[in-house]
Amino acid sequence: MYNSISSRRNFIKKMAQLSAMTAAAAMFPGIIFASEQEEGIPNSANLDWKKGPCRFCGVGCGILVGTENGKAVAVKGDPNCSVNKGLLCVKGYHQTMCIQSKDRLTHALVKKNGRYVKTPLNEALDIVADKMKSTIEAHGKDAVAMYTSGQSTIPEGYVASKLMKGAIGTNNLECNARLCMASAVAGFLTTFGADEPMGCYEDIDHADYFITWGNNMAEMHPVLFSRMLEQKTNRGAKIIDFATRTSRSSTASDKSILFEPQTDLAVANAICYEIINNGWVNKSFVEKHCNFSKGLTNMGYGTEDKYSFKDKPEKIDFEAFKTFLNDYTPEKVAKYSKVSAKDIKYLASIYGDPNKKVVSYWCMGVNQHTRGTWMNNLIYNMHLLTGKISQPGNGPFSLTGQPSACGTAREVGTFTHKLPKGVVMNEKHRRLAAKIWKVPYERIPSKPTYHTTEMFRAVDRGDIKFIWTQVTNPLVSLPKTSRYRPAMEKDSCFVVVSDVFPTPTSDVADVILPASWHIEKGGLYGNSERRTQHWDKMVEGPGETTPDAWMTIEVAKRMGYGDLFPYSEENHVEEIYNEYRQFHEGAKHGMAPLEVLKKESGVIWPYVDGKSTQWRFNAKYDPACKEGSDFDFYGKPDGKAVIWQRPYEPAAEAPDAEYPFWLNTGRVIEHWHTGSMTRRIPVLHKAMPEAYIEFHPDDAKALGIRDNENVKVSSRRGSCVLPASINKRGLPTRGQVFVPFFDENMMINDVTLDAFCPISKEPDFKKCAVKVEKA
């Protein structure tokens, strides 16, 4: 490969340099090396810069991709994008390097006699359509399913929904955002009646305090964290990290407070107790804008097949809520949360101080929780009681993990119960969808079918006989893959996997479809702050790679639904977006026209009269608020948000004598989710080549485990062997181990539990009981 020693030396120098830059990225969130970025860019007049969003996380940084002779040769941060103002994290900077991976899926592969045979795409799509049709004929429409992604583009999600719900007439559509954002959605809907954050990233420039709830932003939302650090340095803003593990975020924060897994519920209630007891309630705000409710308790954990639950909300009054909180005095909660009463009071005093602006941030720690909806409600309680909401620098802000968990999964609605506007259970919403889709209203079923965990259980039971996954790798990312991998291998289900690279999921496919990567197609994403971002196709993909949206349309046509999908191959992104926009017309969710999105580096919705709405529900900024109101939570019929009475309940599975450790799982800055892209980017792979199991040094010592020594971690469901990591990236509390899930060779999700929040149906990847032993 290297034809001379000196070119090999230059290569090694480059690797040395990139290693140091990647190491710096792990230590300094949002670090940028602008001079290197400029230097690495070929000095060519032919370089064509095209804008788009980053492929990876929900921060939604704007990127500029430099192309020359049809190839992507450079990536830099878009200085015109208000999200990142030119900054990128280490993943963003290196993102296009995965396209050149040698094992790229360039052609369709069809399994014949146990071997994958390269097949023309048209033939493969014929097979997919035939199989889908014949399965419906033989077993009914609920025997086929699609499982998509918070990384699908808006047009991809939209045509999947239209095919499944509008054309076929089944609600068997789910997406991997169920694994990350469902509790956030359920939290928003139960408290405000409207999904997605009320504030925006500009809150960072105004807040005095950032309180992060179970959220390692330094690694997961690095560019936002770097913006927070900038405010810390420049204005003295404070960051308080409230978590179960000491991470990069904890060490960069002003204060780190650790809690026992699951007791965040109790601590949040204790904060509310303090707010009320100290007279810090913003009485006029609460009286004018809030109701109080309670729901059912002891809901269970959904670990059994066909589990179902429906909450029964009941109105209560402020006095009842106050009495309920008597069980949550800081002193009582300190006993089991391992957070001192002093620290609880300190947190409460920040929320309670009328002169301090507070933003709460959270992501997976709160959402991937068997009481995730409750935890979202409880964070809203603190902001509602104090009236610190919907104002610059004051508000609860639920962050998303994936780049279009908001834009596609939540707004287009690629969940079983959702439609592009509203839910299938609502007749008005079904009628609107039927009208725009031009299908008979009766065709859209009014009952949701399977949420994600139940969908894969249905595959295992043999109830689902055809499944098509797009832009996702469930056999690495689902909880309890020890059950769902054998399920997907069964002959009873025909599996179609559409992806860019081979994965453990494509390994079990009957047909593999070669998908276009991010910049090889046009599309739209929607980030955490309601920002819709458009990009044009920048380069040609290799072989027969094709956008997922177009493959869905081709299958729909082959199934006889061509009249519902009258889009052209060249302009389908534009045509689909224009059709989709009709769903959200109006001041509450109006989306910017495509011409605007093409010019701007993303636009926040509601987009009203040519302007973005940065703070919803506050009449000063939001034209959808009732005239004469100051705040209007218009998602609820009476315009009032709900303060929920939600108790502490234990986790689905806690450590015991046989399985004495908590297992927590998550991500690392170098890798995106299951690593199928970032592990093919040499510098990222080299920086973090394999997963590991983190120990508290005392636990490691007690077990006689040394750093790097192989350790077997087992639960009641499965086991996994990984090298020990002691005093390196993160530090779990005693009695807890942490494992990142990016490594398909070390399948930690064989060990995790598929318990979920009964309201949101989002699994808890952060808590189950395990034992560890030397391998």
């Binding site: 090999r8 090694i12 040395a16 340099q17 290693s19 949002g30 670090i31 900038e230």
Partner: protein
């Protein structure tokens, strides 16, 4: 020929002084971070002895707070 990369952390307010001092040394390539107080340093020397000497020189720079080795390679001479 040893090639090594480091993260060089300057003393408070002395990032530019550190960049200048490192840039003056033969065998040092400096890539400063734009928005953080840290500098990526890549060193390339003829042999292990010169590597040790260069490292000593670097460690004597006044504006340097901490030098952390990230990677080290040894390539054949051409």
């Amino acid at each position: 020929m040893p090639i090594k990369s480091y993260l060089a952390h300057p003393k408070k307010g002395e990032k530019q002084a550190l960049i200048n001092a490192l840039s003056e040394l033969n065998g040092c390539e400096v890539i400063p971070a734009t928005n953080q107080d840290v500098v990526v340093l890549v060193t390339e020397t003829l042999d292990d002895a010169s590597d040790v000497i260069l490292k000593e020189k670097i460690e004597h720079i006044n504006s340097l707070k901490l030098l952390a080795l990230v990677s080290g390679f040894n390539t054949p001479q051409n």
